[in-house]
């Protein structure tokens, strides 16, 4: 007699991710962040109406990995491009996915004004405190004392200014309804990051305004640390300058945590 076995799929690649190997370094947070974004789009049934805008930076090739429509923006201009898309197609789902150089240095004006206009866009902000793609130069988010190729003695507030906390800056914009900072360096935090991304997406679906999820993301290559050390550095050092948690929430959503 034939034996019947019922298989249940418990894990797989989200449809919102293409079956393609990424160029990201071992231990990089981008792969985790990509997966979280993809899982949320899948679970919320948004993939087929999503238009994404990648940054210029390590995730510039995100359209090779994300399995939905995407358009490249010049460095820093993702949220201006996203604004144009969303205004023309208000019934589509629009996300930007940007690093700290893109969103918090060259694109600061576009970021602040997009948030302040309250554009119905979800921004995923990957903060790794360094310019990754170009080889480890100082970022606006680089911590005091942190070494970078353009701050070889470590960031010195007198010489280089202070690390910028753009999420807190955006929080004072009336158009921004939800901003949360998470890390990608523990199971618990990854799950929290996914919740935050889902909530950000819900803000857009409910036409509440602009929302942003900042993800503190390890960059072992340019931090010159092993992946394990890089994860520990996020948890023990980076979160001192960039404390995790909800920075702004005027959504009125019930917090089940």
């Amino acid at each position: 007699m034939k034996e019947e076995v019922a298989y249940q799929k418990v894990f797989g690649r989200p449809e919102s991710l293409k079956p393609a190997p990424t160029h990201y370094c071992p231990g990089c947070g981008h792969s985790i962040a990509h997966r979280l974004v993809a899982e949320c789009l899948d679970e919320m049934g948004l993939r087929e109406i999503t238009i994404g805008v990648p940054p210029v930076g390590c995730a510039v090739l995100a359209y090779n990995y994300f399995n939905f429509d995407m358009v490249e923006a010049p460095h820093g201009r993702a949220l201006a491009v996203a604004t144009g898309i969303k205004r023309v197609k208000p019934d589509r789902f629009v996300i930007s996915y940007q690093g700290d150089g893109d969103l918090a240095a060259i694109g600061t004006a576009e970021t602040i004004h997009c948030a302040n206009r309250g554009e119905e866009i979800s921004a995923i902000f990957i903060n790794n405190a360094i310019y990754g793609m170009t080889g480890g130069q100082m970022a606006p988010t680089t911590l005091l004392g942190q070494e970078a190729t353009t701050a070889p003695m470590g960031r010195d507030a007198k010489l280089h200014g202070h690390p910028i906390d753009i999420s807190r800056m955006l929080a004072i914009c009336d158009g921004a309804v939800y901003i949360e900072r998470c890390t990608l360096t523990s199971i618990k935090q990854i799950r929290q990051a996914k919740k935050a991304i889902r909530k950000s997406f819900q803000c857009q679906l409910d036409h509440l305004g602009f929302s942003l999820v900042e993800l503190l993301s390890p960059c072992p290559t340019n931090w010159k640390l092993s992946p394990k050390e890089a994860f520990a550095w996020v948890n023990e050092v980076m979160t001192k300058t960039y404390p995790i948690g909800v920075i702004k929430d005027t959504t009125g959503y019930e917090d089940k945590r």
Binding site: V71, V81, T83, G84, V88, R117
Partner: protein, 379 residues
């Protein structure tokens, strides 16, 4: 009983929707023509002398169900246009010289990503902040690409308000046809002058050619990506060759120019836009004096009507070039004419708008070949 508080004065709409011939300012003309040509997205940042255009559209776009955004900068505005274009809209931005300089990054991306858009430049004096007077000093920037990389954008040079109407329609059509940004190159005077115009009816948005490349969500199809970064040198090489093929096609198919009284002319003035209007008045006065002078007016500055001007130069003795700058279109004239005719040049930078009589004196000087006004160009 307390009397009611006076109500705030009602703002008069800047919009007028003319159905018949009417007098209208150049900047407003472009705005009205744009919405009739199907433009439903405008983003721009204030700069004189073209503020009347965004002001007009700020109200008009609401009426036609489109989007007007006053961007935080020219850079943001051109990139909003990039996004709107990727999402399928006929999209436009406008500015004046220093602002157009800021938009060059976005124009280069539009060209590389093959996205249509209309960019209006009402030129003012430069370099730097310059002044707000009419100028022709952005000709190089407009016709040679302007931003980084190997590309050109079609450049239309209207010489009056009716042409602003017609060329706004044409600009959107060319943009969609060739998937390229298109520039309308006017000047401070063109944006401010009032002339009678007649508008065509509104284009039926549903009747516009379908854009099979638009990003609107991947339901029922494979996802699309629109980008200009091509790291593989062979593929980048191919992309550049593809853009070049498009340039060649535009060059072959889209040259436009006007000739006035050139059949019997011994000297022909070459000028575009506002300068051509002044030159035409000067020409009429000289014709009255019995001088055989004609006008060659390029309408597309890129592609430049080189074969037409070259043919003209075979027949006439002298070419007199007049520009609101120190000789930028002059280079295209030299490339077209070579040594087929004597070339004379008169350029007025900085916003000085001469009278027809002054330009007439230049033409006479060129006809005499004495170089008293302007200068002889040795090729």
């Amino acid at each position: 009983m307390p009397s009611a508080l006076p109500s705030a004065p009602k703002l008069q709409s800047r919009c007028t929707v003319p159905s018949e011939k009417m007098l209208m300012r150049g900047s407003h003309v472009v705005g009205e023509a744009a919405v009739r040509a199907g433009c439903r997205f405008y983003a721009g940042y204030p700069i004189t002398p073209q503020n009347e255009l965004p002001e007009y559209l700020s109200a008009r776009m609401v009426e036609v169900g489109g989007t007007f955004i006053q961007g935080e900068s020219e850079i943001a505005s051109i990139n909003m246009v990039l996004g709107a274009s990727a999402a399928g809209a006929r999209a436009m931005t406008s500015s004046s010289s220093p602002g157009i300089a800021l938009k060059q990054e976005g124009i280069s991306y539009l060209a590389g990503q093959e996205l249509p858009a209309v960019v209006v430049n009402m030129m003012r004096g430069g370099p730097g902040l310059g002044n707000i007077a009419p100028s022709g000093a952005d000709y190089f920037q407009a016709t040679r690409g302007g931003g980084n990389g190997d590309y050109r954008t079609p450049v239309l040079a209207p010489a009056g308000c009716q042409e602003l109407v017609d060329m706004t329609f044409l600009a959107f059509d060319l943009g969609d046809k060739y998937r390229t940004p298109v520039m309308i190159l006017g000047d401070g005077l063109m944006g401010q002058v009032m002339e009678p115009v007649v508008f065509p009816d509104f284009l039926d948005l549903n009747a516009l050619p379908e854009k099979e490349w638009v990003l609107d969500g991947c339901k029922g199809r494979e996802p699309r990506a629109i980008y200009s970064m091509i790291l593989n040198v062979n593929l980048m090489h191919q992309h550049n060759l593809h853009l070049q093929e498009k340039c060649d096609l535009i060059t072959a198919q889209e040259q436009r120019w006007e000739t006035v009284q050139t059949d019997d002319a011994e000297i022909v003035v070459v000028a575009y836009g506002t300068a051509a209007r002044i030159a035409e008045s000067a020409m009429e006065e000289l014709r009255g004096e019995g001088m055989p002078v004609g006008l060659f007016r390029p309408i597309t500055l890129w592609p430049y009507p080189t074969p037409a001007l070259r043919g003209m130069a075979e027949r006439v003795k002298k070419i007199a070039v007049f520009e609101f700058c120190l000789g930028q279109m002059l280079e295209d004239v030299i490339l077209s004419v070579g040594n087929r005719a004597e070339i004379y040049f008169y350029g007025l930078p900085g916003g000085i708008v001469p009278t027809p009589a002054e330009v007439g004196e230049f033409i006479k000087s060129a006809a005499r070949g004495d170089g008293k006004i302007g200068r002889r160009i040795e090729v």
